[in-house]
Amino acid sequence: MAVAATRPRTRGRWGIPVGRILLLGFFLVFVLIPLYWMLNTSIKPSDDYLAVPPVWFPSEPTLIHYEAALFTYRGLDGLINSLIISLSATVLSALLGTLMAYSLARYNTGGQHLSFWVLSQRFLPPIAIVLPVFLIYRNIGIYDTHIGLILAYVVFTLPVSVWMMFAYFRQMPKSMEEAALVDGWTRWQAFWRVAVPLAAPGIVAAAVFAFIACWTEFFFALLLTSRDAFTLPTVFRAFIGFQGAQYGEAAALAIVSLGPSILLGVLAQRHLVRGLTLGAVRG
């Protein structure tokens, strides 16, 4: 009896954790159903979108929605623009963010106020500044250019990048860089050869956040671009028109847009977990 009492209550007759499996199963369905429905919609003929009863397995799968979304609606151009802009902004944000965070953490640049000011850049709702930015961009000729959107995205992602890495550098013992200085390296070399490799998990985590923010950004892309530098998210608005919604095309493009995010997530996962749980895994 004593043995039975120490067992978790949710285990059934054969020691199966029933409660846990139920919970995980429910969660899995909750997460996967929408994804499945998106995939399903992207390959089913238009007539089946809203059929009753719902079509769970399209009898005649088709790729016409992909073709329409990528070429007719210029989804492919949007994808390429998105990749160029998001990757450039991410690299710049990580680079500048690392330098800035290091300076704040090691030299206490600008005292406590500068670091807080950096974060305060996020206090303003983006919509508050979009009109002036639009006018400025148009006047200096970077409206609807890659550079223009990259700049805007760097400005928007930098505060979070800086703060994530600021926390990272601050908890890193100074003594390793000091050892490098005494060992004969310059300040810059100590930063580059010792501090940066050690901060890599933090840098990667910050970069992933920046990339996701750029990749999914809609509002600035909508207002600061039109025919040339438009990004993937802005393509979606074309799918809801006066003729009704193009569910198939929307679903197809959504599937395509998941690709880079998933790839990045898989590549960065190892670093990401360490970067985010920092402080809990000292020693």
Partner: protein
């Protein structure tokens, strides 16, 4: 190898002054230990020598050259840090050779020197490992290897043993001493542990509140402490301090503690001190022994004591008793006393007693 001269060195952090005017000359090849309680400025002093802290005033010379404005890399010193500060992303061989890489040494020579240093420290089999795969003692060896491979003019150690357990600490202490005997480079070693200071040093520099309290040969500091602070800091168990008054007469000088009169040995000069002056008598526990023979030896004072507290360590027993109301600890032989409450007579070696001015705490 080089001698080191520090003149009028001060280091301020805002309004707080961590080092308040230090003059120190360290001879070539000397093993100097900077010792003192935490916050006394010893680590700050060491870091200014390394160039990791800028100095506010004064000068530092290494080998006759003022290095105030030199970057750490141009001072040709090596430092072993308290937390070892190994580069976690490099294996042991790279950790040791990293400083040589900075000096653009040919790869073959780096490898040869890393191998030689590793052999010297017995870590050859660890060269491919990462720091996190090493034990504390091994990390310590790597940190020392990183310093010796560079063959610097001065070695700096910042509490290198404080993160090790007691047994390993004893072992590494011996190794550092052996290392100094082998390579006899100037070494400056910071610690708060008076045993490390006593065992390692050619010279102890005892610091307090950003100033040097006393410096000299370890035994000189131990036997002739300049102040009660030095006397209390060195030695374990601590020196007993008894406050009393000086009783001078033609028959000889003595210290009066309450109603007990402890005669000072003839020839123990107390010139300049007045009769009735308040004094502190310093007695080290090892200078109080269980009486033997009918009468005490010359210079000894016999005292009948009731043991209040007994702390046997195996080889010794620390026995506490009261002398004129003040608690005094004696370091006795293991079997001198068997239980608290026992009455024994104790001989106090007054020839080794220290005497301090009651007000200033300075030695008389």
């Amino acid at each position: 190898m080089a001698e080191l001269a520090i003149k009028g060195l001060r280091k301020r952090y805002g309004a707080y002054e961590a080092v308040r005017g230090i003059d120190l000359d360290i001879r070539d090849g000397e093993f100097t230990v900077l010792v003192g309680p935490s916050g006394c400025g010893k680590s700050t002093l060491l870091r200014t020598i390394a160039g990791l802290e800028e100095i506010s005033e004064g000068s530092i010379e290494i080998g006759g050259e003022v290095v105030n404005d030199y970057r750490p890399r141009d001072r040709d010193v090596a430092m072993v840090f308290q937390d070892y500060a190994l580069y976690p992303h490099m294996n042991v061989a790279k950790n040791i050779g990293f400083g040589l890489m900075a000096r653009k040494m040919p790869k073959a020579e780096i490898e040869a020197r890393v191998a030689a240093a590793a052999r010297m420290l017995g870590i050859t089999q660890l060269l491919d490992r990462l720091p996190r795969q090493l034990s504390g003692g091994q990390r310590q060896r790597v940190a020392i290897g990183r310093a010796i491979v560079r063959n610097p003019r001065v070695f700096l150690f910042d509490e290198p043993l404080s993160n090790l357990d007691a047994q390993l600490r004893d072992e590494m202490r011996g190794e550092i001493k052996r290392l100094h005997q082998e390579i006899s480079t100037t070494m400056i070693y910071v610690t708060h542990d008076q045993i490390e200071a006593m065992t390692l040093a050619d010279r102890i520099v005892l610091m307090r509140d950003g100033l040097i309290e006393q410096q000299g040969d370890p035994l000189e500091l131990f036997e002739r402490p300049a102040t009660t602070f030095v006397a209390g800091f060195l030695g374990s168990p601590k020196m007993n301090f008894l406050s009393g008054t000086l009783a001078r007469s033609d028959g000889g000088d003595a210290v009066r503690i309450g109603d007990v009169l402890l005669p000072l040995p003839r020839g123990r000069g107390v010139d300049g001190a007045a009769d009735g002056q308040a004094v502190l008598l310093g007695l080290r526990p090892e200078h109080l022994t269980r009486s033997q023979g009918e009468a005490p030896m010359p210079g000894f004072h016999r005292h009948e004591a009731r043991i209040d507290l007994l702390q046997p360590t195996g080889s010794r027993s620390y026995a506490t008793f009261r002398l004129a109301g003040e608690a005094v600890m004696a370091e006795l032989q293991a079997h001198d006393v068997s239980r608290p409450g026992e009455h024994i007579s104790i001989d106090i070696n007054m020839t080794r007693a220290s005497l301090f001015d009651g007000a200033s705490g300075r030695a008389i």
